[in-house]
């Protein structure tokens, strides 16, 4: 029972995976093939990256609504300007720059995170529209072959690297400080944690994660769209929540958020194979979100009672 809420993401993911296998098997009379798993993996990767960045921000007690704009801008730049691997650092630099702007406004400007990122969201989205006014663009096949190869599970490598990166990060001084700020910013400040610098870093990392997500997005869809990022605002928050990261900060992990993102992606497939009218999809996703979180808080209550 210890810290069940923190493991919520894995439990929900396990339950969703079982449901997925069940409806797939009863619907098609066989188990999913490697191709099915690979397509789920490749389409989930963008959300996985945004969710990792979002979870870092939420761990400090903040929220990043501008992920929609940052992903859109980086998708636009990727689709327009990337002709080979040598341009990828440019995309990552632009995403990080967006995050740096957020970090400056939140940490130095002392504006509540939800408001700061609400204001930068249209700014980044506008920039994306300026770069790519109509959907289009392309991605070089050699990048696609390395990032989201449709035949080889290259996505697993990147997923593994992302998770490994987080596991290293949380054990660094920076990672400790992220948790310290989220648990109690005042206490963290009192023991000498540079709260402003860490907060700044967290938003910059969220921007970098958005850039990575954008590259994977263009790699999977093979084209860009200046509005591609908008859905990630609410889905990344949902992934973080289902992943058991507490909105008050200081509790949870990015790996939980990765599990949350995977669970959200699987739910769509579960609904599809269960033969649910796609028009009702949002209904079940909404219920899934609320029920998953209610189970989490119920577990907390039980823990407190025993």
């Amino acid at each position: 029972m210890r810290d069940l809420a923190g493991r919520l993401g894995y439990l929900v993911l396990a339950a969703t995976a079982v449901a997925y296998l069940a409806v797939y098997a009863t619907g098609l009379g066989r188990l999913p093939t490697a191709f099915d798993y690979l397509s789920i993996l490749n389409t989930t990767l963008p959300l996985v990256f945004v969710a990792i960045g979002q979870s870092l921000v939420v761990l400090t007690g903040g929220i990043d609504l501008s992920v929609g704009g940052t992903v859109s801008l980086c998708v636009a730049v990727t689709a327009v300007a990337v002709t080979g691997f040598e341009q990828l650092p440019l995309v990552l630099a632009i995403g990080t720059a967006c995050g740096v702007v957020n970090g400056l406004i939140v940490a130095a400007g002392r504006i509540a995170p939800i408001l700061a990122t609400l204001a930068t969201l249209p700014i980044f989205t506008g920039a994306a529209l300026w770069v790519l006014p109509v959907p289009g663009g392309s991605i070089p096949p050699q990048i696609r072959a390395v990032l989201t190869n449709p035949d080889l599970p290259t996505g697993l490598i990147w997923l593994g690297l992302a998770v490994a990166g987080w596991l290293v990060l949380r054990r660094t001084r920076f990672g400790m400080r992220v948790y310290a700020i989220g648990s109690d910013a005042g206490a963290a400040r009192a023991v000498g944690v540079p709260v402003e610098r860490v907060t700044f870093g967290v938003y910059a990392l969220s921007g970098l994660c958005c850039a990575l997500a954008a590259v994977f997005y263009v790699s999977t869809t093979t084209a860009g769209d200046a509005n591609a990022g908008a859905p990630f605002i609410l889905t990344s928050i949902a992934a973080v929540v289902v992943g058991g990261v507490a909105f008050t900060g200081g509790r949870g992990s990015a790996v939980g958020a990765v599990a949350g993102a995977a669970a959200l992606a699987l739910v769509i497939d579960v609904l599809f194979f269960a033969g649910i009218d796609p028009l009702y999809q949002a209904l079940f996703q909404g219920l899934f979100l609320v029920v998953a979180v209610m189970l989490g808080s119920l577990a907390m209550l039980l823990r407190r009672a025993t």
């Binding site: 929220i63 609504l65 406004i105 400007g109 002392r110 504006i111 509540a112 939800i114 408001l115 700061a116 609400l118 204001a119 930068t120 969201l121 249209p122 700014i123 989205t125 506008g126 920039a127 994306a128 529209l129 300026w130 006014p133 910013a185 005042g186 400040r189 709260v195 609410l234 928050i237 949902a238 929540v241 909105f247 009218d277 028009l279 009702y280 999809q281 949002a282 209904l283 079940f284 996703q285 909404g286 219920l287 979100l289 609320v290 979180v293 209610m294 808080s297 209550l301």
Partner: protein, 304 residues
Amino acid sequence: MRRVLYAFGAAGGVLLLGTILHPGFASWPSLQAMLVVASFTGFVAAGQMLVVLVGGIDLSIPWVLNGAAIMLTTTALGQPGRLPYALLVALAVGAAAGLANGLGVAWLGVPAVVMTLGMNGVLQGLSLGLSKGLTCATCGSYAPEPLRGLFPLGALLVWAGVALLVTVVLTLTTFGRRVYAVGVNPRAAYLAGVGVRGVTVALYTLSGVFAALAGVMLVGYGGQPSLGLGDPYLFESIAAVVVGGVSILGGRGHYAGVVAGALTLVAVTTFLQAQRVPEYGRLMIYGLVILVILLAYGRTRAHD
């Protein structure tokens, strides 16, 4: 109260700048058109402000609005005689959604972001599913005439009525004092005998009603509902609340400021359209304006 004055200053500043560059920008016909557009933001922002006052947030506004709009036209079927009943049904949908939000937040302890985000999805699914993607037999109905005849002056009177009601309830009633008490410090309010949960549920319910009212007014204005009608109003409602000087942390703010906030946002957009600024520029300048206003009077205190 100082922030309310700042909010009106911001609205006045934008209107003044508009008049200098476009003579007639703040003339009555142009102002009236802007006020009508601002009233929709004003309605959703009334609800958003109420939940923000107790430190909450309502992300279910887009599809509460859209669902109520569809409910109104499919119930009224374009017949003036059915309008009162349809109005009741549409507002009841909003109240029910808001009530569910409030119960989830106050009694089940679900974080407001999660509860209202989930509710938004639930209502989106129900709206799309039950109306078969807005292709049902009655989905082509128009809003009945009395409602459409409200525009422009009648609609502004409705907004004025809402503004008066919200202001009176918040400043002159016990309920209003309780709202601010809960917003400033829920624990202290609870110890002082305020029914924190009851107040919270009432505010989320009201937010649902106001979102539904915005949906009703929008179909009255446009004639027919569309899918995604409410989408722009999620972030717009939060922006209007904040530009209006309401503290996002709760406990501070007045609806008068939110009225000015809604007008500021619409005036900025109208001005940029008049300047023929392309869409990307409009979005960027809109964001920058909110940012400047936030830096001017939306900052939290320094931690020294």
